[in-house]
């Protein structure tokens, strides 16, 4: 996986955790889970964001605002964000050399 994409995946996982704590923290705390480290987690998120190239980060923010999730997995040659077909020729040049975007919706593509 491209190192920048790996950082973007980690960033999205962190954002998911922060959002879930904000939106469902009460429910989770009701189950006994404590969220005392939320501020530290937000700090980690900011530190991680500084390692991402500004262009990628800007695109990530734009997509997150538009779709909720910026990075989506490719399953059975489909972008799971918009279900557009990802041509096999496109798949074959993936992963190592660049951060790939869906040509239909622009989401960042991740091959699980």
């Amino acid at each position: 996986m491209h190192p920048q994409l790996q950082l973007l995946v980690a960033l999205q996982d962190l954002d998911e955790m922060i959002n879930e704590t904000a939106n469902q923290g009460t429910e989770l705390e009701g189950l006994g889970f404590k969220h005392g480290g939320l501020e530290e987690l937000k700090k980690s998120r900011e530190d991680l964001a500084t390692k991402i190239e500004p262009g990628h980060l800007s695109w990530y923010k734009r997509l997150t605002g538009k779709f909720g999730h910026a990075v989506v997995p490719v399953v059975s040659n489909l972008c799971t964000g918009c279900f557009a077909n990802i041509p096999s020729s496109f798949v074959s040049k993936t992963n190592e050399n660049k951060v790939q975007k869906c040509e239909s919706c622009g989401r960042l593509l991740y091959w699980p």
């Binding site: 996986m1 790996q6 995946v9 980690a10 999205q12 996982d13 962190l14 998911e16 955790m17 879930e20 704590t21 469902q24 429910e27 989770l28 189950l31 006994g32 889970f33 404590k34 969220h35 005392g36 480290g37 939320l38 530290e40 987690l41 980690s44 999730h69 990075v71 989506v72 997995p73 399953v75 799971t80 991740y110 699980p112």
Partner: protein, 153 residues
């Protein structure tokens, strides 16, 4: 949610009856390794990063001797539950300071409509309150016995 429904998200390949690690990072790594070996999931480093971040938020060892490491990550396509057990116990930063012996690790995708994993967490936590059941689970000889004990009324 019915406990039998929850157990559909695990399998014999996702049962580690004898964890060897005795510290939190080691136990998480061993469980993630088991997860990778027992499924088609790859990207262990992504899952470890998510779990480590989650533990920084607060320990997931919330039950008496029970831990529920959990979270969402792009590394999985569906809710997957790993079960692990340690007779010796793991120092998992539990609130009561005691060692953690039984783990249910729940890994969910970001697009988990209906919040399956939170419902599964709630069902597991509710079920595990029974002290006799916890003893049975620690003594269960195999995955099948473990699941049967979980499903018994």
């Amino acid at each position: 949610m019915d406990i039998a429904e929850v157990l559909k998200h695990t399998s014999p390949e996702l049962f580690l009856p004898n964890l060897t690690a005795t510290d939190k990072q080691g136990a998480l790594a061993e469980m993630v390794e088991g997860l990778i070996a027992g499924t088609q999931i790859s990207k262990p480093e992504t899952i470890m990063q998510m779990l480590t971040s989650r533990e920084a938020l607060g320990s997931t060892a919330v039950g008496p001797g029970i831990g529920f490491p959990h979270g969402r990550t792009l590394a999985v396509q569906r809710l997957t539950i790993m079960i692990a057990r340690s007779a010796e116990g793991v120092d998992f930063d539990s609130e009561d300071g005691n060692k953690t012996h039984l783990f249910f690790m729940l890994i969910a995708p970001p697009q988990d409509s209906g919040h399956q994993y939170i419902k599964s967490l709630a069902a597991l936590i509710d079920r595990i309150q029974d002290g006799d059941l916890r003893d049975s689970l620690m003594a269960a000889e195999n995955y099948e016995s473990f699941c049967n004990a979980m499903k018994e009324d």
